[in-house]
Symmetry: C2
Amino acid sequence: MADLRGGDLSRLRQLNTLTAIRALRGAGPLTLSALAERTGLSRPSMKEVTDELMALGWVEEVPPSPGTMGRPARRYRFRADSGYLVGVDIGGHNIRAAVSDLDGRILAETRRPVAPDAPLDERLSAIEQAVSGCLTLSHTAISDVWTISAGTIGVIDVEGHVVYSAAVPAWRDLDLAGKLREMFPCQVLIENDSRLAAMAETRRGVAKGAKDVVFLHVGRRMGAGLIIGGKVHRGFGAAAGEISMLEEARWFDAPEHLQRCASVPPGTPPEDAAGHTLAAARDGDPVAIEAVERYVDDLAVGTAAMVLILDPQMVVLGGGFSRSADVLLDRLRDRLERRCMRLPEVRASALGDECVVAGAIDYAVEHLDEQLFTPDAGPLPVTR
Amino acid sequence: MADLRGGDLSRLRQLNTLTAIRALRGAGPLTLSALAERTGLSRPSMKEVTDELMALGWVEEVPPSPGTMGRPARRYRFRADSGYLVGVDIGGHNIRAAVSDLDGRILAETRRPVAPDAPLDERLSAIEQAVSGCLTLSHTAISDVWTISAGTIGVIDVEGHVVYSAAVPAWRDLDLAGKLREMFPCQVLIENDSRLAAMAETRRGVAKGAKDVVFLHVGRRMGAGLIIGGKVHRGFGAAAGEISMLEEARWFDAPEHLQRCASVPPGTPPEDAAGHTLAAARDGDPVAIEAVERYVDDLAVGTAAMVLILDPQMVVLGGGFSRSADVLLDRLRDRLERRCMRLPEVRASALGDECVVAGAIDYAVEHLDEQLFTPDAGPLPVTR
DNA sequence: CAACTTACGAAGGAGCACTTCATTAGTAGC
DNA sequence: GCTACTAATGAAGTGCTCCTTCGTAAGTTG
């Protein structure tokens, strides 16, 4: 019972215009006939629509492809470069940023280390530097950026305030969206990093096309991102996926098994300890294997809870530890098989460290699509 | 990226026709002007649409309301009685059935007891009797029934096969939808009972309008139904909500605390034991209170898992034990507050034993709406 | 260079919704 | 009982969008 608005004639045109854009996105350059066939419209009507879109700057003509029979058809493509999107991953130890076109194709990427206990100003200026760095790399002006989309640890409310963040002390109660809006003159979106990573997996990763996905963000901290019905699930208070708060789920302290393992050489910096244990387990060190077994035992409890509650199509293992997925995956699968009714596919992320940045960009793309393809949004804006 | 179909002129008309039906549903009889205003169409256009709908039998004229200024406007209403829906609750001990009109208003209801260990044939014939009983009560012919929608314990796959059912032995591996199709000459829908009850709560119960709801189906067996984004969440293998399978969630044996309580008089039939304990706790019996405390302790673990994972707007306590919600609700709220990040609203179902039947009917209504309001479904069928 | 293939562009036609205006059927006041 | 007022009705005319059809243009192939 969403809207009760009946259709005007102009609305039909609007609908067809948007359908044309939609058909041009993703698919490469298309001829008029191909477009007409895909959308079900006749060529003359399609012509009018494309003319309008060209005038508005959403679509441009590309040279016809030679070597074809008959008169060469003119081809049109979506001008993905008529605007740019920026994704930011505000992690504890690193700030990553990437620039993409409106199709979400990443053009440049940067990374800046930052201390976990750095004061707020330092952290914010690292963000600014990371963003301007990748803008420079991709020869893009900030004025051409339509949306900046950032992911960070913690619970972020609908307006972009950080409600809660265990990992970054300076983050708490911060109006992050407001701060970023002061820094950049464009639309700002904020989301939880695990949710963004989950999104990236369903858009461009191993879970491409899956509708119900549980993404495990495993590293020195545990997080989860849920895709339900093909959409990111935020929850009523934007706190969905925080299963690590539940003692019985045994997630909170699970990484300790890896970090405090006796096989880690003394003097190893704490951020590398778990990596050592996982590597040792891969090489057959029995002490390390024992630690990994205990780690996966704990990981599997919270995961089984999510699988039993949601019955997803796939569980994706991502985050820092997913580099050692070969050590973890079969063990996790084994535990889940015993605990769950139906074992979902269990796979490792293929996106690695870029998953949050990519997800932030995918989130911005989705936001753009929603703005475009919501019928009641009024006429298409001019892009130049 | 759902459909790429551009709009035809006829599609615009179709869209407006459906919008008109939509506006007439729920809202009572409407005048042409009122309809036109709601849908945004002009009166002349609306007139054509209503004429068409009258010809097809979807809408009928009602006498104009007297006592109004000016020329009395003719009024139209949706013919909710041009078809009927039947909802069935196939429980362990009872079969319930109800007949409703196309708006989901329940016209008649019946109940037939059946033994939990009854053979398949007996159970199926009880279903047939329950359905024909309420058809007789409401003076409805089976040929006027468009859809039969049934809810039952267990995991039901997409085609209506029972994949798993712990409670009803004869149920396992049954093609329930097929059996019902043999019995009744209409569309058949099958769903898990907890999910249907959850649906009823968001359509007509305490969770009306809420988008994310966890429904606890508590009684001698534990179940859960999830509403996510306003829709019933089935899961990829239709096994969502089966948290009681997880040992750590402590749901499976939770009812034992109530059933084996020392305050239950010896000789009480097992199905009444828990009711006794809950009643005794209400009266202040310390032994019973102790049992209830332990019960809610366990109930809260699995519930907290769902709340932390999904962050719902509301938790609804339903099922047999919800009659004693006054004893349970505050205790549950207290536990959840301690365990969860954000305490959702916690409320008791107001629908009682009818919740599954009502949900089955709501499910059928939703199915009908989807068929009607999916643009690509072709022209409206004639209803008479 | 001729024949063939394929796309383009203009013209004519149909369907749907909008606006406008005279008409009709009631109620309220004298 | 008559007149004035109100609000819905029905018909006519207009505009927009999309469709079909047909002649023309721009290539490739033999």
